[in-house]
Symmetry: C2
Amino acid sequence: MTQQIGSWSLQFAEAPFILSSASVVGKKEGEGPLGELFDMVCDSDKFGEDSWEQSESSMQKEAAALAMGKASLEPKDIRYVYAGDLLGQTIATSFGLMEYEIPLFGLYGACSTCGEALSLAAMCVAAGYADHALALTSSHFASAEKQFRFPVEYANQRPLSATWTVTGSGAFVISSTKGKAKITGITTGVITDYGVRDSMNMGAAMAPAAARLIVQHLKDFNRLPDDYDAIITGDLGYVGQEILWKLTENEGYDISRIHRDCGIEIFDKDRQGTQSGGSGCGCSATTLSACFLPKVESGEMKRILFVPTGAMLSQVSFNEGQNVPGMAHGVVIESA
Amino acid sequence: MTQQIGSWSLQFAEAPFILSSASVVGKKEGEGPLGELFDMVCDSDKFGEDSWEQSESSMQKEAAALAMGKASLEPKDIRYVYAGDLLGQTIATSFGLMEYEIPLFGLYGACSTCGEALSLAAMCVAAGYADHALALTSSHFASAEKQFRFPVEYANQRPLSATWTVTGSGAFVISSTKGKAKITGITTGVITDYGVRDSMNMGAAMAPAAARLIVQHLKDFNRLPDDYDAIITGDLGYVGQEILWKLTENEGYDISRIHRDCGIEIFDKDRQGTQSGGSGCGCSATTLSACFLPKVESGEMKRILFVPTGAMLSQVSFNEGQNVPGMAHGVVIESA
């Protein structure tokens, strides 16, 4: 039987599999270091649509179709979809997934949504509630800038601590059917506020939540960093990574040797002008699907801890002077 | 073992209990027909805070505290909280629940969120992932008007089809410990678009999703409307109710005798000027907690189907000319 372990974690007795996954990204992501690994790179970030929001919906639709296709499944084979995005009222998801007519659990975990969706889909399949469930998320540079900061057309200057929202969508089929990777456990985070108020420094806002989650995860599972081939955060970037290493070291865990960050992997900051790194729900989702999951599937990595993090703010909360607390979800993925 | 039944439903082998619940509402709700039933009525809709958003957070905090208190539980006893609200990036939830430090799954299902939260919390407890989980949601008239329509200070005219967003928060402790009511099954909806574009007529936008869900639920469970003491929608209001009855009748089910709508129950439209009725995540959550759940707990009602519905729109999607599709989640609650 699946066990509640420690304060924040579950260890699955019968681990659900990641049967397939897919990544769809925009032009800039296609030009980055991982460019050749993505399943689909669109020449135009509009994805054939009229608005940025619809473009993001279109990416979700494509990512879902590709992930289902790789597993030879049709929408009717998927019992539940767990999905969300960064936009107010998660409209990219609502409009992107409508035509599939799959029962939907809509999620919001900011950029940690990929971890939340994988966690809930794994819980669902492990309990026998579904044979196949889809975990899916997205972000789009232009829709996110419009949502959280300024319209892209304003050509605002960006500080060095700023991250660049990834235009991308990642989808994962979680299944009771055997695949090459499995989700063996999850650690679910709490909202953590260290008093950061700078919406142009998301790495600093989210690093404390990531540090708490990683430390609690290691305690809950009674493991050390070396028990993992990699601990992979979502989008802390260079600024957040430094803070994360320091905070975990303060707790007695040196993760610097095995830490990777999807936001650092996805762009070449010198060549692409992406400052601290990539960010957004799509950053961790597409990088996991295209870069890290294949390494687990091939056995090059035996066990990874995937920790996407989110910054809990809206334009309203920010303008009203609230802090920017962070959130994190941890997912243990192992070779099957 | 819990069974997947029909296309959209689960029947729990060991049904989780609703151990306790609580409702916190604003002044106008306290003056309505259900006024005396709510656990807490605040004289001021500010709940002692400086902004409408923080007021909503404060309501969530109070509702959670009351629900935990009634079950003699502390935050550390709650393994997971499933929660969401109507605001962009669900900030009422992020800021409302932070201090409890309970692992959080953030949700967005518009006004159907109460059903989504109850469904996921029930799935979680039924699988043995938690002994106690909290399902919680809220809405606030002023924060919602600002989010979706116009600031209240503009004193806009409202058409007769408009609903009045309830200022309220409802919280439910879902538990493996025996209570007086239990969740025996769920039906999870799909996003349904019948082409409605009027953001001042949410009832019409959501009624098709409710009708599809109710019809599919009855088919999945092989039941008739008479197998329920009540089928309770969240916030269709008078306009949506008429459409719902017609759509379900077209499918061969007459639900008019047993249909109730939280949006119709919570306000006196003649006396309170609430047009088509109440709406918002808090409408269904507080009305279930204060009005219907006690009837199930006392045995006056043996079995109800609770169907909160949501309208999937944002200010951006609406201004970009998109339709307003609907969503619904069904939860079967029975006397224990």
